[in-house]
Amino acid sequence: MKLKRGKLLIDPPTSASSDIAFILIIFFLVCASVQPETGLGQNLPKAETQPDKTRQSQNIEVGISPTGIILNGNPLQVESFRQRVSAELAKKTREADKVVVVKSASDTTYERWIEISQIIDQAGGTLTLEIESQQTITLD
C-alpha cells in the first residue's frame, strides 16, 4: 500500500525577503548600538602659562617611567605608590593642594600612564600634566 506524502515545507513568498532583511538589519543595528563604552573620566585643570612656584611646591609630584614610579623624589613600586599617594593626599585639606603634577618619561606607554592616573584618581587627587615644551634655538 502506497502512502502519499504531503508537502510539509512551504517556501515563503519572495516578495517578503526584502522585508525580512530590513527587520534583520534593524535588529543588528540596535544590538550594535546598545553596547556601552567603558573607561575612565578625567578633568584636567586649565594649563598655566606661568606656573606659580610657591603653589607648585605644595603639590605632590609624580614621575612615571616604563620601569618605575617616583613620588616626591622617592622611587616606588605600584602597590607602595598606591598606599603612599593615598596617605599624602589624605593630609591635604584644600582641594587646590590635591593637585598631583605628573611628569612622564617620553617612552612611557599609555597603558602604564592610565594605570597610575587611575590610582591618583582613586586616591582623590586631581591630575595635571607637566609637559616639557621643545624649543629650537638657532645660533648665528
Binding site: S18, F22, Q42, T109, E111, L129
Partner: protein
Amino acid sequence: MGDIGFLLLIFFVVLARTQDDSHVQWDPARLANVDSAAAPLASIAVDVQDKIFLNGKQIGVDQITSRLNAILGDTPTGSRNVYLKIHKDASAKIFEPVIEAAGASGSDLFHIIEPDNS
C-alpha cells in the same frame, strides 16, 4: 516598500560611517575598575602608527583645541564629553600633548578602556 526602506537604511548607515572612527586601528588599554561612558560630542583617537584622528578624520595635534572648541561650542561643563581612544602602546611624547590639547578646550575627557576581568 520594503526595498525602499532597505536602500534608505543602507544610505544612512554609509553616511554615518563617514563620520565615525571605526576604521582607526587601535588596541585599548585594560584596567580593573572602569565606568560606563556617557554619549560623546566628539572622539579623539591615536592609532597604532601614532596618527591622531578627530571624529575619524586625521588631524595634527596643534589643530585639536580649535577643532574641539568649534564642535563643543557653548555646551555647558558636564556635557562636553569627549572620548579619548588611545592605543595602549602609544608613548607619552605622543599622547600627552593630545590630552593636554583636548583638556585646553574645556572638554570632559573620557579615556576609553576595556575592563580587565582577569
